[in-house]
Amino acid sequence: MTPDQARAVLQEAIGHVVPGADLGPLPDDADLRDAFELDSLDFVEVVEQLSGIVGFRIEDHEAESLRTVERATRFLTARAPA
């Protein structure tokens, strides 16, 4: 998975939870939970959506790697087969 694909996947997952959310203008190091006002329940749902799209389970301890666009992109490109 390329960084661009990873970003698109992240956009899709967050869009499911926060309709209309746009990753576009967000700095790479912005905290996604703060930026989109995700509570813990929302965040679990984002992780669930992401898992569904990429096709592998993302565990709780890995969810920390999804806090910013930059870290999430790195995590997804490393974990998802090309």
Binding site: P19, G20, E45, V47, E48, S51, D60, H61
Partner: protein, 405 residues
């Protein structure tokens, strides 16, 4: 018109989802009603055939007004009206066959209802959005099941329509600023009443969540993604168990006396992205283990945020929980929702120094608070409640898993 919350006195029928002649079942969503706080899907509480719809969409009526009449499904031909006076009118809330009342029943089966021509169904979120964006719903093509107009259809329509003068709102209801104002007013009225009438006392206890979080972590490795727990589910489970153990805090203060509630119906304060609060309830929370609790919280939150709460979600709670942990504050000094007699508050779970077995360690701690009505209980009972809640969180393997006996 069912009462959809303690402070509701009237409601506006936004639309009917059934027509005369339709067969309806207990739990079917038959109408959408606008309260000051939210559009709410009203469930039918009985099986039957719709004989007549007695309140036109756009009409505001007091709680208790008869909305529709049903006849028995097995009657074949439509026997006019219910067994009792078929000309029942406004104010007779006790007429059971006539009032479309909220009922915790079968899952929603809106798709079972026959699709009607004309404008078709519109999701409450779509309606609100259309109001905000000035989109005429009559021009929107619904892409949902059976032509239901969804929020994205409205957005698509808004994007494709050049901005002209404000389109006339097609359905009576609240526009967004008016709704925000209404919601502010009803919160103001209720909280003022609480602070005027209820002599509050406040207690706090710091609870070590180490064992509970470990349990959640292990459990989540086994659970399917859709069932995965957040610690808040355990906090609610522990609250329900404590309310069972200390029933003096679970119920209502009515006519100068405490009336204990039969079940633990946990009110959940949800803040909305658009501002304001909703307090839907998890009925019978004492019967739910952590996983079942999580499912209910998930469903409820989704419905509340999507503007699709059901009437039964707004049945009056017996005890309310305010979880501000995600907002990052340490503790909550709550204001009780009358006529309840207590409110439980959770602050953020954070790692802090803590003495364990004579050693200083770092533990995930949460401050649990209780606001309670001094007319109903004293501090000793409140303390028992908080200690019971703590105990439940120290032994997750036995408290979170098993159903209460």
């Amino acid at each position: 018109m069912p009462s959809l919350g303690a402070d509701m006195t009237e409601g506006t029928v936004l639309e009917w989802l059934v027509a005369p002649g339709d067969v309806v079942h207990r739990g079917d969503i038959v109408a959408v009603v606008d309260t000051t706080k939210s559009a709410v899907e009203v469930e039918c509480f009985d099986d039957g055939v719709v004989a007549s719809l007695d309140v036109d969409p756009g009409t505001k009526v007091p709680v208790g007004t008869v909305l529709a009449h049903l006849t028995d499904a097995d009657g074949g031909t439509a026997v006019a009206g219910p067994p009792a006076a078929p000309d029942t009118h406004a104010g007779d809330a006790a007429e059971p066959d006539a009032a479309a009342a909220p009922a915790p029943a079968a899952p929603p089966t809106a798709t079972r209802l026959p699709h009607r021509g004309g404008p078709g169904r519109i999701s409450p979120l779509a309606r609100r959005l259309a109001d905000e964006l000035g989109v005429d719903l009559a021009t929107v093509h619904g892409t949902g099941l059976h032509g239901v107009i969804r929020a994205e259809d409205v957005r698509a329509a808004a994007a494709s329509t050049p901005a002209t003068g404000a389109a006339s709102p097609p359905v009576a209801g609240h526009d967004a600023p008016a709704r925000a104002l209404d919601m502010r007013r009803s919160i103001a009225a209720l909280m003022t009443r609480s602070n005027t009438e209820i002599p509050h006392y406040h207690l706090a206890l710091t609870v070590d969540l180490h064992r509970t979080l470990e349990w959640v972590r292990e459990r989540n490795l086994e659970l399917s993604l859709a069932e995965r727990l957040v610690p808040a589910a355990c906090l609610l489970r522990a609250t329900a168990l404590a309310a069972r153990e200390v029933p003096e805090l679970n119920g209502h203060w009515v006519e100068d006396a405490f009336r204990p509630a039969e079940h633990v119906d946990l009110g959940l304060i949800l803040s909305l992205r658009s501002g304001g609060l909703l307090v839907p309830a998890i009925a019978g929370a004492e019967e739910l283990d952590a996983v079942a609790m999580m499912t209910r919280v998930r469903d409820l939150t989704r419905r509340a945020r999507g503007g699709r709460l059901r009437g039964s979600d707004l049945d009056p709670p017996s005890l309310t929980v305010s979880n501000l942990g995600d907002q990052g504050v340490e503790s909550v000094a709550g204001v009780i929702y009358p006529p309840q007699v207590a409110l439980v508050g959770f602050g953020a779970v954070s790692e802090r120094p803590w003495a364990v077995d004579g050693m200083l360690g770092v533990r995930p701690l949460v401050t649990v608070t209780l606001a309670a009505d001094h007319r109903a209980t004293d501090g000793a009972i409140g303390s028992r409640f908080l200690k019971a809640l703590d105990r439940a969180l120290q032994d997750p393997a036995s408290t979170m898993e098993q159903k209460e006996r």
